[in-house]
């Protein structure tokens, strides 16, 4: 049975109240930013999930409480995951309840935001976590109102909720007191991540992440840029990854090759191999230069030519560096400077 209510945008909390009052069982889909799903069982809220906050599985696996190899099969089994894990002895009942309850309130904060949104209700649908705890929709609503107010009390601007976050390069005061969760956040504010990214990355509750971020923003330690311009987003990793790897492998091979070349004098052979290894014209010519030098210097110590050879492959990634890679460098520099400053600040205490 399907109840379509996709027509116009309504405050999702009002719909939830109606469904709870009617004692419904099913899933309330809330569209919008970030949106999510509220699961009801006989009118009680039994689970809530949102892309903006980590769910039970993420909380348990990111923190290292459960290995992925335990969680994934349990989820795939089709049973109610929560009770199943408890029955198997992977979790205690207390942990399961705390984790689920935390996840419900956390996700509800994002799903049931006051802004009107399109909603639809799928009767009968249940969440795979299973029946762990029941929350009264009215209690949930009151608590969410309180939490929203709490955020605004800390720092009235909502910039940090959605914007890309970066740590301010200069601390506003000479002395700082930072808690462990705040430290974790500052270190991971790289100018590209948003509050949601941070919560999911660190396996921290979305709301508490927001609260800490607002505290940090109020203290002037982080700043947000509006969430547009995805320009430098995809640049980061691909060029970065192969280079150290290829470097290490290349230098190892180079050492081997240098000795072979020295012994057999088969420079031409090493040249072709170099060309094949790299599949890159420039690299091959550079490499072969090194190879020749290795042959020339063969009677001398074999360490030196090997070293010269080892250094050479690094120039190949150097060509790529002229391409799309500045953000990571900026990030490292920023982090290091910030970390140094915070450390000296802490030492001064």
């Amino acid at each position: 049975m399907k109840t379509a209510r996709t027509g116009r945008a309504v405050p999702p909390r009002r719909t939830l109240t109606q469904l709870a009052g009617a004692g419904e069982t099913g899933a309330l889909y809330v569209e919008g930013e970030p949106g999510g799903i509220v699961y009801l069982t006989d009118g009680w809220v039994s689970y809530v999930e949102s892309p903006a906050s980590p769910g039970v599985g993420e909380l348990l696996t990111t923190s290292g409480r459960l290995p992925e190899v335990v969680w994934a099969p349990a989820l795939a089994s089709g049973d109610e995951v929560g009770p199943l894990l408890v029955a198997q002895g992977h979790l205690t009942q207390g942990e399961l309840e705390l984790c689920t309850l935390g996840a419900i309130y956390d996700a509800a904060f994002f799903v049931l935001s006051p802004a009107p949104a399109r909603v639809r209700f799928e009767a009968g649908e249940r969440h795979s976590v299973g029946q762990v705890c029941q929350v009264d929709a009215a209690v949930l609503g009151r608590e969410l109102t309180r939490r929203r107010k709490l955020l605004d009390d800390v720092h009235p601007s909502s910039d940090v909720d959605t914007g890309r976050l970066r740590a301010t390069p200069r601390a506003p005061t000479p002395r700082l007191v930072i808690t462990a969760p705040q430290w974790e956040l500052i270190v991971h504010c790289d100018g590209r991540r948003t509050a949601t990214d941070l919560a999911r990355l660190l396996g921290r509750a979305g709301y508490t992440t927001l609260l800490e971020l607002r505290r940090l923003a109020a203290a002037g330690l982080i700043a947000a840029t509006p969430p547009e311009e995805p320009a430098d987003e995809p640049a980061g990793d691909p060029p970065e990854d192969p280079s150290p790897n290829g470097d290490a492998v290349g230098s190892e091979k180079a050492v081997g090759r240098a000795t072979v070349a020295a012994k057999a004098g088969a420079a031409a052979k090493s040249q072709t191999r170099a060309a094949r290894d790299k599949g890159n014209g420039a690299a091959a010519s550079r490499r072969s230069g090194g190879g020749r030098r290795a042959v020339a210097a063969a009677p001398a110590t074999s360490g030196r030519p090997a070293q010269a050879d080892a250094r050479l492959p690094r120039r190949t990634p150097g060509e790529q560096l002229s391409g799309p890679d500045p953000p990571p460098a900026y990030r490292d520099e920023l982090d290091e400077a910030l970390l140094t400053r915070i450390r000296s600040g802490l030492e001064a205490l």
């Binding site: 923190s63 979790l91 705890c133």
Partner: protein, 149 residues
């Protein structure tokens, strides 16, 4: 072993207990509560408890006697009773405390504290806390630092 309700019921079974609750100390929200609260407004009690925990954990120097040290509980004694606030340490991210209001004449603070610690550990699935020895070491370190100043 024990769920939230079970844990609170057992907290209320501690001799001299008047009220017990499990509180999220980032938001001041009571995940569960049984018995009486010290004031007419339970919400205010919980918010106040959360504030105390946050002050102890973040602001004050109590948590930094040695690396890896942390606040385990906060005990407030009034003329009438004891207020015990035990941290619940879960591996996953949750920021909870177990709060117990104990009658001062009937309750036994030391016993109640131990029992509450056990309940908190049972709730979070933590193995018995390795608290005893490191705590003694931390105490031993205190005179040294105060002499240094």
């Amino acid at each position: 072993m024990s769920g939230i309700d079970d844990c609170l019921t057992r907290a209320m079974a501690i001799h001299g207990a008047i009220g017990a609750s499990l509180i999220d100390h980032t938001t001041g929200f009571a995940v569960g509560a049984v018995g009486r609260a010290p004031t007419d407004d339970p919400d205010a009690t919980w918010a106040g408890t959360a504030e105390i925990v946050n002050v102890a954990v973040t602001g004050a120097p109590f948590a930094s006697a040695r690396p890896g040290d942390r606040v385990e509980d906060v005990i407030i004694t009034t003329l009438d009773g004891y207020h015990l606030i035990q941290q619940v340490h879960t591996v996953f991210d949750s920021r909870l405390v177990l709060y117990l209001w104990l009658d001062r004449t009937q309750g036994n603070l030391a016993m109640a504290r131990r029992q509450l610690r056990q309940l908190a550990d049972g709730l979070s699935g933590a193995p018995a806390a390795p608290a005893a020895v490191p705590a003694a070491r931390a105490l031993a370190a205190v005179p040294v630092t105060s002499a240094g100043r």
